[in-house]
Amino acid sequence: MRYAMAIDTLKCVGCSGCVVACQTENRVPIGYSRDWIREIMQGVYPNLNLEIRSERCNHCDNSPCVRSCPTGASHYEEGGIVKVTVSKCIGCSACIVSCPYDARYIHPDGYVDKCTFCDHRLKQGEKPACVAACPTKCMYFGDMDNPDSEISQILNSRRHKTLIPEAGTSPRVYFLY
């Protein structure tokens, strides 16, 4: 099993619904977030192009954060989810520096926090909170190893990309465009 997420940039309106759904679901303190919106604008008026992306931890196959963690707090779990064991984390920030996507932050309680793909919801057969809440239904989530899954189908049928592929991290969050 290999969990992956795809975000349709043609549909995303950048409303931040995913951000606040994650914050409330995962009790992320106000002022911090595990996901965020990025807008990339190109061109000169009136010939313009705007790409809007909901971004988060890419749960990379080759995660620099896991490699750089001195205590083993950052680790892979079933389905390739990259997680932090709070009790092992010493808040040294090595992972934060190593992540090309700036996906991690130090929680006010002193440990490093990030997207978990809402693994607590996955265990109950639910989608991650951001995917479930998104008003544009622009987010897809599932098992890439299953060719019949929605995520496999959408990645097979649509043009897609990952962020900073040159970093060699093999991200598992895809952007449809």
Partner: protein, 747 residues
């Protein structure tokens, strides 16, 4: 207290919760929280880990679930899968709605204006004192001027009960600013054309459309939930989207065609589209023949409005006008020329919306799949009440016959009628303001404040210390929507449905729900016969039982859908009678002609920015609803302030850089109270600037929002009033940049 003038009171020192009465659920007249009170007829909130609500963060009112954590505290809010307004998905504001409950800046106790050593201030009061004060003042106004000299402004779900209170008192002056400051022109225009107004949610069949035309309507930045969802679906289906906007909006970025129109010229484009559709015979001939009247007059009327004519006005190339008109016709009848929502722009808005309605009629989209579906409202039974007193006068008596086609009370009309209008002998002297921050809602703040100074009583009922509360004589702390029941949401969607709001938790502080406030006031005004049920639970249960359900059932489902009796679309060849003078869809409006207005839309040029000034445009951001949300801790975290969008050319000419703070000065010399940061972006035309509405708040009690960003409303001192229905056109204001609030000249 004898006082000639109201001072604005900063209530920052108050809200210490110095007066404690204990639990509302245990002590108040309502017995909602106790088992003894309902004998198992319905659940108390404490018995449920998930309670139904409908959202109060905006007027879309999506139905959802409030989830509580292991401590019984509000944890998160999610959408109700059965609700057609949201389909189980909440926008950021709905999800972040819990911030309204947790906001520590909330109003906490009733407050009464008092004077100490020549300085006006608020003192904390008990509910009994505050309500008695209001009742006494209301009675005095009735004695001196008549009960018709009172008015209610409301934009919240408690409005039903305050409306009942005011009507039982003897006044029909009840206004929501959502009419004359927002969607009124389209209601009047669609009513004149199709005999039916649009109301909310709009009956646009975006889910099935093949072509969606947005004119200054920024779906995706306005989070009108199911419309955003359906637009996304339509993108997935590769429907053609045409966006007309001087700004490269989010919707524009999703569009096949973006028409970066010169502001204030939309009507010329609409007339040119009609010209193409008629001259190229692209209209739905069968539909037009069967259902419409006035086609020949329209044809003659638009003959001269060629794309070449419109090009000189709109700056949109004739080829693009033709191509987009053909796209619409190719998709017809599955095409929507969207009416928009906030459409009070230039004072001829009803005519612009008439043009939109006519265009839809030519394309045959009204009553057709992918166009506009036909709605049916659920029948919420009215409870039996004593007859309301006869109303002898109302706000229109002060209007001198103006705005004959207004089909709702104008909030600005109530303001006008609160200032002496010579010869009318009618004056409003008391306002109750519920859930609407009139200072930021109504344009021309100076005029609003003059009216406020002329009142004998101003009561503000709100959850937050918004700017309007600073002018109140009495402030009543309403509890947030997460702590109260309200009237049922009845919605005419694709199927008629109702939604229940019930409290998830007990009201914080001394806040109280609208029903309780209205009923307690009615007791003191000897009008309690109009509130026959002691608690709202009983009234709701009574209503619901007549609808074949019950409060207990609705507490577990949140939403109930009723079967729709009529069909969504006209059947092939179906005979339809429209509620217009001719019984047809009126391309030529007989009602407009009879009232002395142009029966078909005519383009008029609007004022342009003077040298060195830029047109002030404003709009929505997906994470905020006007001023209502700006202090919400969760939503403030997503967007703390607005910024001023400035085109790079404009920035260069004015020596502005990204992130620089500027004050804005409008054409009348009004300078913004606070500076706003410049955002240099190609997404806005060089002749305009843009900012999100709702920021720049003056109320220091809003600790997060105070002074963040600038207020567009403050700069809207010129109002272009629509003579047809009284809408307040707000987009004829121009600004220039200043490097200090008081300094000389521009930047």
């Amino acid at each position: 207290m004898n006082r000639s003038r109201r001072d604005f009171i900063k209530i920052s020192a108050l809200g210490s919760a110095g007066l404690i009465w204990g639990s509302y659920w245990l002590n108040a007249g309502s017995v909602a929280g106790t088992e003894a009170g309902h004998s198992g007829l319905w659940f108390s909130p404490a018995e449920l880990t998930r309670t139904p609500t409908y959202c109060e963060v905006c007027f879309w009112k999506c139905a959802g679930w409030v989830h509580k954590n292991e401590k019984g505290e509000i944890w998160k809010i999610t959408g109700n899968e059965k609700d057609l307004n949201c389909n189980g998905r909440f926008c950021p504001r709905g999800t972040g709605g819990l911030g309204q409950y947790y906001d520590e800046d909330r109003l906490k106790t009733p407050l009464i204006r008092t004077e100490e050593r020549g300085k006006q201030t608020f003192r904390e009061a008990t509910w009994d004192e505050a309500l008695q004060y209001i009742a006494d003042k209301m009675k005095r106004i009735a004695l001196e001027y008549g009960p018709e000299s009172t008015a209610l402004f409301t934009h919240g779900s408690g409005g039903k009960y305050f409306t009942r209170l005011l009507k039982s008192f003897g006044s029909s002056n009840v206004a929501a600013p959502s009419y004359a400051q927002c969607r009124g022109p389209r209601e009047a225009a669609f009513y004149a054309t199709f005999g039916q107004s649009l109301d909310s949610p709009e009956n646009t069949d975006i889910r099935n459309t093949r072509c969606l035309v947005l004119i200054g309507s920024h779906i995706g930045e306005n989070m009108h939930n199911n419309q955003v969802q359906e637009m996304s679906d339509s993108i997935g289906r590769k429907a053609v989207i045409i966006t007309v906007d001087p700004r490269f909006s989010t919707a524009a970025s999703k569009s096949k065609y973006w028409l970066p129109i010169k502001p204030a010229t939309d009507l010329a484009l609409l007339l040119a589209w009609m010209n193409v559709i008629i001259s190229e015979e692209l209209y739905d001939r069968k539909y037009v023949d069967k259902y419409t009247s006035g086609f020949e007059q329209l044809k003659a009327h638009v003959e001269g409005f060629t794309p070449e004519w419109a090009y000189g006005i709109t700056t949109i190339q004739p080829g693009v006008i033709r191509e987009t008109a053909r796209e619409m016709a190719a998709a017809a009848p599955a095409v929507i020329v969207h009416p928009g929502r906030h459409v009070t722009w230039y004072g001829d808005d009803t005519q612009r919306l008439r043009a939109i309605a006519i265009l839809n009629a030519l394309l045959g989209s009204w009553g057709r799949r992918g166009g506009f579906y036909m709605v049916e409202a659920p029948a919420v039974p009215s409870i039996e009440l004593p007859v309301f007193p006869e109303i002898k006068k109302d706000w229109t008596d002060a209007m001198g016959g103006k705005y004959p086609l207004a089909d709702s009370v104008l909030a600005n009309g109530l303001v006008d009628a609160s200032l002496p209008q010579p010869g009318t002998g009618y004056l409003i002297k008391g306002w109750i303001v519920n859930g609407t921050n009139l200072i930021e809602t109504l344009p021309d703040q100076k005029h609003t404040l003059e009216a406020i100074q002329n009142l004998d009583l101003l009561v503000v009922i709100d959850t937050m210390p918004m700017a309007i509360t600073g002018w109140a004589d009495v402030v009543l702390p309403e509890c947030s929507y997460l702590e109260r029941y309200d009237s049922l949401r009845d919605t005419h969607h694709r199927e008629p449905l109702i939604a229940l709001r019930m409290p998830a938790v007990e009201p914080k502080y001394e806040s109280r729900p609208a029903y309780w406030i209205a009923r307690e006031l009615s007791k003191k005004m000897e009008l309690v016969a109009y509130f026959p049920f002691e608690t709202i639970e009983e009234e709701l249960d009574h209503e619901l039982k007549q609808m074949g359900t019950s409060l207990k059932e609705m507490q577990q489902t949140g939403v109930k859908i009723f079967p729709k009796e009529s069909s969504l679309y006209f059947a092939e060849g179906e005979d339809v009678v429209f509620d217009t003078p001719s019984g047809k869809i009126e391309l030529y409006s007989n009602s407009f002609a009879a009232a002395g207005f142009d029966p078909m839309p005519v383009y008029t040029a609007h004022p342009e920015p003077p040298e060195g000034f830029y047109r002030l445009n404003y709009g929505r951001a997906p994470m905020h609803t006007f001023t209502r949300t700006i202090n919400n801790p969760n939503l403030h975290d997503l967007m703390e302030e607005n910024v001023l969008w400035v085109n790079p050319k404009t920035a260069k000419m004015n020596d502005l850089s990204n992130g620089q703070e500027v004050w804005l000065e409008n054409q009348d010399g009004v300078v913004s109270s606070f500076p706003v940061k410049v955002r240099v972006t190609e997404r806005i035309r060089w002749d305009s600037v843009y900012m999100v509405h709702g920021f720049g708040n003056n109320s220091s009690k809003l600790s997060r929002a105070h002074g963040r960003g600038a207020s567009d409303t403050q700069l809207i001192s010129r109002v272009m009033t629509d003579p047809i229905m009284g809408g307040t056109g707000m987009r004829g204001n121009f600004v220039r940049f200043r490097n200090s609030k008081n300094g000389e000249g521009s930047v």
